[in-house]
Symmetry: C2
Subunit: 151 residues, 2 copies
């Protein structure tokens, strides 16, 4: 009722397009820290909209939630990325993205030079032992995950 009660989880879901369950999950992962009202319900600040925006964008760039959390945790005082922060972070995103595109382009070039061959030889085929493996550490989806920028 007061002017600055904050947003409910449903309101936040409506505005971001995320599912309520996803927002709760992000909280469990430490990406947002809502406070609770008297009845124990989550209340969100306007800054959380930006924070979730950031999460959604970073996911598009192929970052995992732990990676995104790490990026957010580096901001002083746990603040939401402002314009200056974004300029820095997005530069890192660009680097990761460029690398990813580069990796795929090299893979395509190797494929081009292999289409007529078809040897699939473990010893000599250019498609093996690619200098750039698409994601090499950790389990789960192992292809195409971007590296953490400036890490």
């Amino acid at each position: 009722m007061a002017v600055n009660d904050g947003l409910s989880i449903g309101a936040l879901a409506d505005r971001t397009g995320l599912a309520v369950s996803a927002i709760r999950y992000y909280e469990a992962q430490g990406l947002i820290r809502p406070w609770r009202n008297a009845g124990g319900q989550r209340r969100f600040e306007r800054a959380d909209l930006r924070r979730l925006s950031f999460v959604m964008i970073a996911q598009q760039f192929g970052f995992t939630l732990p990676q995104i959390k790490a990026e957010l945790d580096r901001l002083p005082g746990g603040r939401t990325p402002n314009k200056a922060d974004w300029a820095q972070i997005s530069a890192g995103f660009k680097t990761a993205l460029d690398q990813r595109i580069d990796t795929l382009t090299r893979l395509r070039d190797r494929l081009d030079s292999c289409i007529g061959c078809g040897c699939l030889s473990l010893d000599s085929c250019a498609l093996y032992n690619p200098a750039d493996k698409a994601g090499d550490r950790g389990q789960g989806p192992r292809f195409l995950m971007g590296d953490t920028p400036e890490d």
Copy 2:
């Protein structure tokens, strides 16, 4: 001891670089069908080397194991891809790969035009609602999965 006893799972693991557990898993998924020797141990043909090669390459291209199985199952008599098969399949790989590169390139272009902005506005930022979402169906890792070629 006989000349054509086939390879043990350990030998196959050594030659392919795969873990023994991964090879057993691939068998469980129907990607390879070894026979058993008198003692119940798996014995593999030389063709299984090529089959696993194919699996590893297709994974690099972002295909899931079910997709790869589907591709292998389309080959007559459950044979391992030969040169002619490969020419056809790799053309499909190339298409999927080109699409993926294209998607990422567009994403990079949008990022370029946004780096100085930093608005992250849910309403107006070009980084939202991209025409090409990077993988949109199914759960699990939702970014950057290649589409099935010719499906």
